[in-house]
Symmetry: C2
Subunit: 617 residues, 2 copies
């Protein structure tokens, strides 16, 4: 019997027995390094062609370097012990280090506590090729050689070269070869005269208020950098309706509001790339998810019908467009993929939320909420999905609240009242002196005011309460923080109007939930899980939301706060074409419920404005 040898695979820490003469790839595959367990990526099937199964070996005892390996590696890499797993055979015990880019497996996208498994199917593929110098005797320019080699070695025929890439790239091939990036049948990038950066893409959750960007490694799914910026369109309107109205006024204004978001995305991309030690021109693919208005303003689509009845999108199908056609300065041939849209007010961000939270795959009856200036709600039941959109307004972003502010340092994010509301306990972001109240703080405050009886079932402040006062000419207000304790040197109060804004917002959301359940023929008690997505949704106290009737009266353990699920969905779609197909399926499956045309809309909304009976708490 042949003596077995041991092979240690790092960083996964697996020790495997091998038969002398086996290739590293065969050993890895034989040991069941299947999907999810850190197998070695080998798209060419172990022929030494793709150069993708690179590993680094510590120790002697390997077969000599093959020609394929000499073609793929630089002398420096060879010196560092790099080998192709499909080429190197084992004859003695060794340690094999699998670099991240060679690792295949179900990727884990980790975001704020939830983990999503993504089957990798990168939108672009890279190939390292040899070329011969172009001369009058060998008059084959670089693209001809590349096309011939991709056809012969990878069976990729009928390839096109992106025109802008062809315009930029010197056409004469050199003897040393290089790497190309291929998307489908198109060569979209190349590295013949410069170092090869990691394959990266940009995922964007394009919100009305906030734009979240993620720079992601397209093969491993690793997030290399992430950043949130304010949507610069905010200068032209706080909510989608005011922006649409601005853009509709004249073509020049539309162009301006379109251009500022393009500029903003270019800046965001540059910041992210710089943080990862890269440049924007290294970004080879992008996925953008946004609500329908953001989507349309980005693409310069017709919007009149979106701002007015019948409130519909112009385009709902997924859009794939060259980044440069939008004015985005990514790699020469980079594409941007925009998630499909469900309806005028249920956009690609909702599809991404469902995708990112895996709501489409559950067998339970689930209510999913993505709370924002506009709140989208989906009800998953009996294999179906039904969504609606609620105009919840920007109160939870701190807008329209007298001392409202965004969730930044100094914002009051949690409130607890004691002794019938005479004593106030606060929690501020970064424990700074309080400057104002953010969404979760005002939500808490209203819930506590109600619990302690400072407000009644209609939200009216009890004017007899010691902390309630009525300034001359103004509405009643509750003194939350006296000037002496605030960071602004002024009182921080909650006014009767502030409470009204919160009741309007919660009524909008509660109405959506109730009408969805009604359309589905279900009751609140049928809901088996409530998924709460979005930045505000992650930070709010669920008990408070239930207490004021914004969320249905269900046990707290049924609620799951999943963070920026839309961003997660965008990243999943960025690294995997399978996820895009799934997103397209979701967009097709989700039914849209237009609340405005429901006969009971008005009644439901009005009755939702009241606070729930305290007995139900």
């Amino acid at each position: 019997m042949v003596q077995k040898i041991t092979v240690d695979f790092e960083p996964i820490g697996r020790r495997v027995e091998a038969t002398p003469g086996q290739t590293i790839l065969a050993v890895a595959q034989g040991a069941g390094f299947t999907l999810g367990a850190g197998g070695v990526y080998s798209p060419c099937g172990g022929k030494g062609l793709c150069g993708r199964c690179r590993v680094r070996v510590k120790g002697e005892g390997l077969s000599p370097l093959t020609e394929a390996e000499r073609r793929v590696f630089t002398p420096q890499q060879i010196a560092e012990g790099f080998r192709l797993a499909c080429q190197a055979a084992l004859y003695a015990p060794v340690k094999v280090e699998i670099p991240p880019e060679s690792m295949v497996g179900i990727q884990k996208l980790q975001v704020e506590g939830i983990e999503v498994e993504v089957m990798p199917e990168p939108p672009v593929a890279r190939y390292t090729l040899t070329t011969e110098q172009t001369t009058i005797e060998n008059p084959r320019p670089v693209w001809q050689q590349v096309a011939q080699r991709l056809a012969s070695d990878y069976n990729l025929s009928q390839l096109q070269v992106d025109m802008e890439l062809a315009r930029q790239e010197p056409p004469l091939a050199q003897a040393k070869g290089g790497t190309v990036t291929v998307k489908g049948r198109e060569i979209v990038n190349c590295f013949f005269h410069r170092p090869v950066p990691p394959p990266v893409g940009l995922a964007v959750d394009l919100g009305t208020t906030k734009v979240a960007g993620f720079l992601v490694h397209l093969e491993t799914g690793a997030t290399l950098a992430s950043e949130g910026i304010m949507n610069p369109q905010i200068a032209y309107g706080e909510d989608v309706m005011s922006r649409l109205a601005y853009a509709l006024e004249d073509e020049g204004q539309y162009q301006r509001i379109h251009q500022v978001i393009i500029d903003g995305l270019n800046r965001l991309a540059k910041d992210l790339a710089t943080r990862a030690g890269l440049e924007t021109k290294d970004i080879e693919e992008a996925v953008i998810v946004g609500n329908t208005a953001m989507h349309h303003l980005l693409l310069r689509l017709p919007i009149a019908q979106l701002a007015r009845a019948p409130y519909v999108a112009a385009v709902t199908t997924p859009v794939e467009i060259k980044a440069r056609d939008l004015g985005l300065s990514f790699s020469p041939g980079a594409y941007v993929y925009l998630m499909p849209v469900i309806a005028g007010f249920v956009g690609g961000d909702h599809v991404a939320m469902i995708l990112g939270s895996r709501l489409d795959r559950t067998d339970k009856i689930v209510l999913g909420l993505d709370i924002g200036t506009n709140t989208e709600i989906v009800l998953k039941y009996n294999g179906r999905m039904l969504s609606c959109s609620c105009a919840s307004g920007p109160a939870f972003e701190g807008a329209h609240i007298l001392h409202g502010m965004r969730a930044v340092q100094g914002a009051i994010q949690a409130v607890r009242l004691k002794d019938g509301g005479t004593e106030v306990e606060l929690e501020t972001i970064a424990d700074a002196a309080p400057l104002g109240i953010c969404g979760s703080g005002i939500l808490d405050a209203v819930a506590e005011l109600y619990r302690t009886g400072v407000i009644d079932v209609h939200g009216r402040l009890n004017r007899q309460h010691p902390r309630v006062r009525v300034p001359e000419g103004g509405p009643a207000e509750f003194l939350l923080v006296p000037a002496s304790e605030s960071g602004t040197g002024e009182d921080i109060v909650i006014t009767q109007k502030d409470i009204g804004e919160i009741l309007l917002a919660k009524a909008a959301i509660a109405t959506g939930t109730e009408l969805l359940l009604k359309a589905a023929g279900l009751g609140v008690e049928d809901i088996q899980e409530v998924v709460v997505a979005g930045a505000f949704g992650t930070h709010l106290k669920v008990a408070s939301a239930v207490a004021i009737g914004m969320f249905p009266p269900l046990p707290l353990e049924l609620f799951r706060q999943v963070g920026n699920a839309a961003g997660t969905g965008a990243r999943a779609a960025l690294v995997s074409l399978a996820e895009r197909r799934r997103a397209e399926e979701i967009a097709k499956q989700v039914g849209y419920l237009e609340l405005m045309v429901q006969p009971s809309f008005q009644d439901t909304f009005v009755s939702s404005l009241s606070l729930p009976e305290r007995s139900s708490l």
Copy 2:
């Protein structure tokens, strides 16, 4: 037995027997109206979905209109007797008129005497669809309805809408429906609010001197209009080298020479469309073939390596690009397809010439010549093709010839000398008074001067000849037309320098032929056919070209003058994706012989400068 009924099909004039109750489509198919015989086009397979098998029926005796037919036809069309062949069943004798757009079959492209059979596989397809009005209760915009209908009725999923089309088209669907044009998975045009023009495309043979355009019906292959214009780039240089040099001087000049041809193509398209009663925005597809320099200047590709050694193309693969990305004002989503290129001086026009003349399919040993400022020659032998490019110069276009002119009214196009060259017989275009000499005329003249001994084997004029004179300070010249007989009022002469220009041109072509044969290991006697393409090639007298050694000394019956075969190839590729695949095969199969690096190039060229021994005539 059931009584048979007779059906007359027009315009093909076929009388067929039918069983009552059969559909018109079934009758046509049963009668063997297969490809090439005028069958009825029915892409949906007779389901009444595509609306393409429309026929016009004279006489009663048909089944009632179906719902599908009411959807497809306007009341006016119904009144005119239009029916869908797949829906209408026959119960009495009728006359069925098949309109051209419903006729399938091998198309015949008729050009200057040759006929080419093209298997139709149109690049775009049209679908007529119903839509429901978009309202707040039915909030599905037009593209969503179109995508859903194409998916359900035609199994076309994952469709995208061209962004520019989506920007232009009103997004609200109306109850009356309309027609869309689909290319692959993309909706590229639509007709919801306007009449549906015939599906037309533009084929362009983009020559250095002349640009030939053809407006073609994409389904029938019929040429609706054709026109030739001068290439406006001629203002920046007569031949490709001078244009490349101009463009290389600075980026602004490159932009200018690029823009003039774009403008020229837009004008040409407009003229052609106007003649056919259409607009340029009705052009839904285009194919452009041109030599490599014209191709690169059109696409703004790098050209330094084309103008200098190693004289190679930047891009040789076929290019498919949105017309608008080139600045061409066709339909919103129209594509332009550019034929693949073989080498720096063997371009897409050569591929189109081989395609158009069907040279790739012959089993004979064939020499193919496309004569122009640059002459490309292909040798087809033993299943292989080998091509070269010869710098034959613009002499045959009338340039560099003292009294040279283009082949327009008044040009001497044929010359016959009598009585030892003392008497001259001429033929002019349109029988007008002679103004100058065009290519075929100067070719004839040199051949006749040699035959009658006025010039010797080196082309030297016999200064003793009565019609030969030596003006003071100038070269010797032969008086072709005295001032008294010319249309210019001045003598028309052929100078010693003119003869030298013709000998240079013929030597270039003869050298190419000889070196191709040498590379293939063949002799002149092995050639079984000579295909002569191009406008000049069609009009020249083959006997004269053989007499001066420009063409190999072969029996005249082996020569086939095929006209603008490149234009024919362009039209074939315009109407048929199968032809494009074939063109791409040709481009891959053709080997390129770089004459400059052949060791015997110089010797062959010098010996080709002499005229052949008269004994070989």
